[in-house]
């Protein structure tokens, strides 16, 4: 019969003792961007609701979305969205059991960071 052992262990992920490296940075960025995108969703849905409601309400929402704050928020949203997009594709690749060796993982991580910046610039140019 297995006994339950009570041992005081450090809580995972125990960040203090790790040197920052690409897979770690890109992993935490995936979480930060994914959760931060709720702000983008709130803003876009608010703007949609305003468009569906009335001229005066839309003027307020449109004013916020086209102000410097709106431009900054939407640019960061696109950057976060593209980063999370690429990191999500990488996650699916990892889930298939591929690309898990360190050199490949570091290359994929850099590809996520550089790719998200490139896609953001392209989005700003095209849209």
């Amino acid at each position: 019969m297995a006994e339950v052992k009570r041992v005081e262990r450090p809580l995972s992920p125990h960040l203090q003792i790790y040197r920052w490296h690409v897979p770690m940075l890109t992993s935490i960025l995936t979480r930060i961007t994914g959760n931060a995108l709720i702000v983008s969703a709130l803003l876009v849905v608010w703007w949609l609701l305003a468009a569906a409601t009335s001229d005066s309400y839309f003027a307020v929402a449109n004013g916020v979305m086209t102000s410097w704050f709106g431009d900054l928020a939407m640019t960061l949203s696109v950057l976060g969205l593209w980063y999370h997009y690429l990191a999500g594709l990488r996650h699916l690749y990892y889930d298939a059991g591929k690309g898990l060796d360190l050199p490949t993982a570091e290359k994929l991580g850099l590809a996520c960071i550089i790719g998200s910046v490139v896609l953001t610039v392209l989005t700003i140019i095209i849209v």
Binding site: M1, A51, N62, L81
Partner: protein
């Protein structure tokens, strides 16, 4: 000493309280979003900054309306389950339960609000 096997004690004690369904749901919604999000960015990006008439005309068309609705519903469920993972890492006990409920509630509220706005513009 309880007469339970190690397996019996471990069952259902995973981080999510359930098995692999959560992970599978994330994979399915991730692939769905991967197909939809580029067009979604284009639709929202090109409508932002336009006048109300133009925005309403855009979302009265089937493709922008249906795609935006799908991204909202699938995306918000993807968010709720993703946020749950984060909450399970950093919160314990009742706080964990409360935050997960809040994340799920906020996600449905945003999706429902978006669907209401889309329906009003499209119909």
């Amino acid at each position: 000493m309880r007469y339970l096997t190690a397996r019996k004690r471990a069952e259902g004690k995973g981080a999510a309280g359930t098995g692999t369904h959560h992970h599978w749901h994330m994979q399915v919604s991730a692939v769905a979003l991967a197909f939809m999000v580029p067009t979604f960015i284009y639709i929202i990006g090109s409508s932002l900054g336009q006048g109300r008439e133009a925005v309403m005309a855009t979302f009265a068309r089937p493709l922008p309306a249906i795609l935006t609705a799908l991204v909202l519903v699938v995306g918000m469920q993807h968010f709720a389950k993703g946020a749950q993972i984060m909450i399970e890492d950093y919160a314990r006990g009742s706080a964990k339960k409360g935050f997960i409920m809040l994340a799920i509630g906020v996600s449905w509220a945003i999706a429902a609000t978006g669907l209401y706005a889309l329906a009003k513009m499209a119909l």
